[in-house]
């Protein structure tokens, strides 16, 4: 397996675009990436197209990638459709990486596109429930927001009792404010308006303790990344080389509640009794680093407050110290381990099939030093060198249906 570099990133702003199709969104992201990579489109050897709900929302159940890429002028190459709910974009990246690393092609495209927004939100909510076993979730009135709200409600309990962490709704609002602030510095973010804690708390309650502005809402968008064999990257890019140091993707492991009674099953983070994100730690090991080496990270905040759990599950602080970690400012853009500089899912938006690539794209810009005005300095103030993307998708008993961790190095 040879080393693979990223040579181009392209995005379409996340937002509500009733008048744009999957084709429109995809074409913009793809060509932004092609121009950014300075690559001849004919050099793209294969493409991985990520999309989760194109069938449910637009009716395009089959051949989505082929249809969208043809509109963007690409055909005749292997085009593979991939899906793992909210981790779809990362899966497209993973497959494109493997394809180049294995030596099949020198240049590969990973693109994720999603249309989620319908004037009738209830329909979108219903479609999103298919990210779980439909026998279990379908048409029973269950919704993800109820699960996220319930888990956080539990964590507002007294620290140490019944899964409580001593967190407050006000702390949750502060997480949302951070996201919105970062989003205001990101031209591709769905939400670019800064907010106050008061505004977040006064927005309508979605699923207590979650208010509207704490949640990622319906949005459309597209993001694309072009990968190239490291040994050939100089043909296209004169930027500092950013390579894939690790990519780990796993379906949630079976959890035996008899052996792990303390674990918060049906939780967003696959943390278990050790509190660690197993997939992230596997990626750290492959990349030969530890969490203390990460300069910048994107994590999967389906609702802004869950970023708190990631501080410990990704190893940036110990379990139980997330609140202090946040309040010390370390995860802000100016901190030593900035998290979700893009605004995260809650502010940047969460067009499901594209999210993983929005995360990776943001990290690549950070590593290239092209992320002003939200550019981070890196732990050693020499520019960031190591970036981590943590992306989960779907829900099954015991946690996310799929969990991914990607480490990029400059």
């Amino acid at each position: 397996m040879r080393e693979v570099a990223v040579i181009g990133v392209g995005m379409h702003k996340a937002g509500k675009f009733l008048d744009k199709s999957l084709k429109d969104l995809g074409q913009v992201a793809i060509w932004n990436a092609i121009h950014d990579a300075k690559v001849n489109p004919g050099d793209i050897g294969c493409a991985y197209f990520g999309n989760a709900l194109g069938g449910a929302i637009t009716g395009q159940h089959m051949v989505r990638g082929q249809v969208v890429l043809r509109y963007a002028g690409l055909s005749g190459i292997p085009i593979i459709n991939v899906e793992t709910a909210c981790a779809t974009g990362t899966l497209a990246f993973r497959e494109a990486w493997i394809c180049v690393a294995a030596g099949l092609y020198d240049v590969a495209l990973a693109v994720g596109v999603e249309k989620l927004y319908l004037a009738d939100t209830a329909k979108s909510i219903r479609a999103m429930a298919t990210g779980s076993d439909v026998d279990y979730f379908g048409d029973l009135g269950f919704q993800y927001m109820g699960m996220y709200g319930g888990n956080l409600r539990r964590q507002t309990g007294e620290k140490g009792k019944e899964g409580g962490m001593g967190w407050t709704q006000e702390l949750f609002a502060k997480m949302a404010v951070k996201g919105k602030y970062n989003g205001s510095l990101n031209p591709y973010a769905q939400y670019q308006k800064r907010m106050t804690v008061e505004e977040v708390l006064n927005s309508r309650v979605v699923a207590y303790p979650l208010t509207l502005y704490m949640c990622s809402t319906m949005g459309d968008g597209a993001a694309a990344v072009i990968l190239c064999a490291k040994e050939k990257a100089h043909n296209y890019s004169s930027r500092p080389l950013v390579t894939v140091a690790a990519q780990v993707t796993r379906a949630a492991a079976f959890v035996d509640p008899r052996r792990q009674p303390e674990m918060d099953v049906i939780d967003e983070t696959p943390s278990g009794p050790t509190g660690r994100d197993k997939v992230a730690y596997e990626a750290y090991e492959i990349a030969g680093i530890g969490p203390e080496d990460v300069d910048v990270a994107e994590m999967h905040d389906a609702v802004a407050p869950t970023e708190l759990n990631s501080y410990s599950s990704l190893g940036f602080c110990d379990r139980g110290e997330e609140k202090e970690f946040f309040e010390s400012g370390r995860s802000q853009i100016t901190g030593d381990i900035p998290v979700n500089t893009s605004g995260g899912l809650a502010a940047r938006g969460h067009p499901i099939g594209a999210t993983g690539l929005y995360q990776i794209g943001e990290l690549v810009w950070q590593l290239w030093g092209e992320a002003e005005p939200r550019q981070v300095a890196g732990r050693k103030k020499q520019g960031p060198k190591v970036a981590l993307a943590s992306n989960g998708g779907g829900v099954v008993e015991g946690g996310p249906a799929a969990m991914c961790a990607t480490i990029l190095k400059r």
Binding site: D135, D139, G141, M145, G164, R204, A207, F254, D256, V265
Partner: protein, 144 residues
């Protein structure tokens, strides 16, 4: 001509729970238990995930009582459930092990309506109606 068609009670899922046939008949969840390692699953499944064997799972009736793990009051609903806003969606844990989602009945849908860890009991109750006007019923839990 009036259509006095009898309204039916239809379970939202087959095999997930026992539908009481009379007032004295109690409802319960139906799961499967591995006769080798004792692992209990709900809903039922043919393969024991602990043993990874397809020849050891047997159908079992589960406890009607459960512990409340988490809950949230919802102010938005998926298509077909608008009538129920606000409602409580919860996670409960059965003594045999399985953790499951459930709607909550018997309390007003408020943030302070329930206490994490409290005991809940299973009932079968109307979830929604189908196009023919029949009652679609489901497992739900209410405070003991």
């Amino acid at each position: 001509m009036s259509d006095q068609v009898e309204k039916k009670r239809i379970p939202v899922r087959e095999g997930f729970f026992h539908m009481p046939e009379s007032a004295e008949d109690e409802p319960y969840l139906i799961g499967s238990k591995c006769r080798e390692c004792g692992y209990v699953a709900w809903p039922s499944r043919p393969v024991c995930p602990a043993c990874v064997r397809d020849d050891t799972m047997e159908e079992v009736a589960l406890s009607r009582r459960a512990e409340l793990v988490s809950f949230s009051v919802l102010y938005q609903a998926p298509a077909g459930f608008d009538f129920s806003i606000p409602y409580i969606q919860a996670t409960v844990r059965l003594p045999e092990g399985p953790t499951l989602f459930t709607m909550v009945s018997g309390v007003e849908a408020r943030a302070d309506a329930l206490k994490i860890g409290q005991e809940m009991e299973m009932i079968v109750d109307k979830l929604r109606e189908d196009e023919q006007g029949n009652d679609v019923v489901s497992w739900k839990f209410r405070p003991v």
